[in-house]
Amino acid sequence: MSLLALSGIGKQFGGLHALSEVSLHIERGEIYGLIGPNGAGKTTLFNVITGLYQPNAGEFRFNGCSYQAAKPHVLAAAGIARTFQNIRLFANLTALENVMIGRHVRTQAGVFGALLRNKAVRLEERACRARAHELLRYVGIEKPSQTLAKNLSYGEQRRLEIARALATEPLLLALDEPAAGMNATETEALKALLQGIRKTGVTVLLIEHDVKLIMGLCDRVAVLDYGRKIAEGVPEQVRNNPAVIAAYLGADDE
């Protein structure tokens, strides 16, 4: 059974069909790439997958359950985490706090717990803090954990977003252009990080403009153009697909 199964997903904004009849299956443990020219609907699809947009049509199944018009925090609890194309950290929270927010979905303490701070709450808070420190180290943030997110470098902010997403203990980690603005060395490090994440059993969904990164990293790739899926398969197949070359790679390579 696929981890994520979309069938016939459609999303309209007024008269604009941002997505039509998109179906795709992401298997457990794979790295799945999503490419396409600007405006092809990649980010829209991401927003549908993470619950920011409700699709107008189609079926959405994740981890064996069907989700209709589910709110983002519900999908987060179900195991979908994401990063954003334009970094959306909590700029005035510390690096550590940003990751701890990611733990929110897996911790319990309610209002009264927060106010009374009984033993269970304190233990949970301590475990949450320890895990957040671990994740900061894992993604390679060397600066003090009390640094405000806005004072981290660009590359560090990208990695902090990944740490925050991992803190939710996702089954599916969705990354929207994680390599955007990175230099070659940083991109290599990112590649290693993502391969490491996959080894821990997390399925990765990746939107990327860096075709080399996608081709070198992904097990399977889907191509969107004008809101439709025009190709899907292993990178080698997709690279040689005439429709893809026409829509995207060809134009990009010239």
Binding site: T50, G51, L52, K71, P72, H73, A76, A77, A81, R82, F84, R88, L89, F90, A91, N92, L93, E97, M100, I101, G102, H104, V105, R106, T107, A109, G110, V111, G113, A114, L115, R117, V121, E125, C128, R164, A167, T168
Partner: protein
């Protein structure tokens, strides 16, 4: 010198109340970018509820030392329910509407609450029952009485507690995350609607305490008391930098001091031409001055960021 010290004491007492109410404005603004103009009426409702509860409890022969905290709790609970209801009914359906829309419903809610209060409690002033012997204490020639001491101590305790909640707990972290970026917070599993409801409830609980404080201090409560108090607390929040918690506390205390010192000395300054009845003018002079010269307030940066 005694007059100066006396005005400082009065200012601190009044300022503590402003600060508690200003926190309610600033928390809601910080999270929703909305000015909850009905907040002053929540303060009034808190005062009225507390007064009714007190009168009833005293009538049944409950000892004042028990009746006071019990009525405070009842007023807080009532106001939390009210705050929750206001957000749920008047603001949540308009979350994505143009920003003018919730501002108008805020004014609508405020009018509704005032009129409801007038129907329930009448138009007359209600005297606050004499519960404890309110002993005056002399400090360097100035007087501070028991109730005033309780007000200042309680306000400081509540503000410290709020800071701990906001900066040291899971809930507070969620509140700050929602204030920064609702979408991202939601994706981290934060139930944004719940956090917003809780924010309104915390602000309303503080408002209830403030309401009881004002009516205990002046010995009066009235269905219209929330209007001016609300405006002044709003001024205090703007003075400190709306959206900023420390700003609301600082702004509240400063506004209390400015008003009190202004009222104490305006007679001398104008040679008796204007008297302390001009006290209320100072708050609004401050509001105008802040909006003209430092619209982001003393500690604020939010307003500038969002505008």
């Amino acid at each position: 010198m005694e007059i100066f010290l006396q005005q400082i004491i009065n200012g601190l007492v009044q300022g503590s109340v402003y600060a508690l109410v200003a926190l309610g404005y600033t928390m809601v603004y910080g999270i929703l970018g909305l000015i909850n103009f009905a907040h002053g009426e929540v303060v009034m409702t808190g005062a009225m509820l507390a007064l009714s509860a007190l009168t009833a409890l005293i009538g049944w022969g409950v000892s004042p030392l028990l009746a006071l905290p019990v009525s405070l709790m009842l007023a807080m609970a009532g106001c939390m329910a009210l705050g929750y209801g206001i957000e749920r009914i008047a603001y949540r359906p308009l979350r994505h509407a143009p920003r003018l829309a919730p501002l108008i419903t805020a004014i609508g809610v405020s009018i509704v609450l005032q009129n409801l209060a007038m129907m329930i409690w009448g138009r007359e002033y209600h005297a606050f029952p004499q519960l404890i012997i309110n002993r005056p204490h002399l400090i360097f020639g100035a007087i501070i009485n028991d109730i005033q001491i309780i007000i200042v101590v309680m306000a400081i305790g509540l503000m410290a507690g709020l800071m701990v909640v906001v900066h040291r707990t899971r809930l507070g972290r969620a509140m700050r995350a929602v204030a920064e970026n609702q979408h991202a917070a939601q994706l981290m599993g934060v139930d944004v609607n719940r956090v917003i409801s809780i924010t309104f409830m915390i602000g309303s609980a503080l408002a209830a305490v403030a309401g009881l404080m004002v009516s205990a201090n002046y010995g009066l409560a009235h269905y219209y008391m929330g209007f001016l108090l609300g405006l002044k607390a709003f001024t205090a929040a703007v003075l400190g930098g709306i959206g900023n918690l420390r700003g609301a506390m600082l702004g509240g205390l400063l506004l209390g001091l400015i008003e009190s010192l202004g009222a104490g000395y305006i007679g001398d300054i104008t040679g008796g031409f204007m008297g302390s009845q001009y006290q209320d003018v100072f708050a609004f002079l401050v509001l105008i001055a802040v909006l003209v010269f430092r619209p982001s307030g003393l500690l604020g940066e939010r307003l500038a960021e969002r505008a």
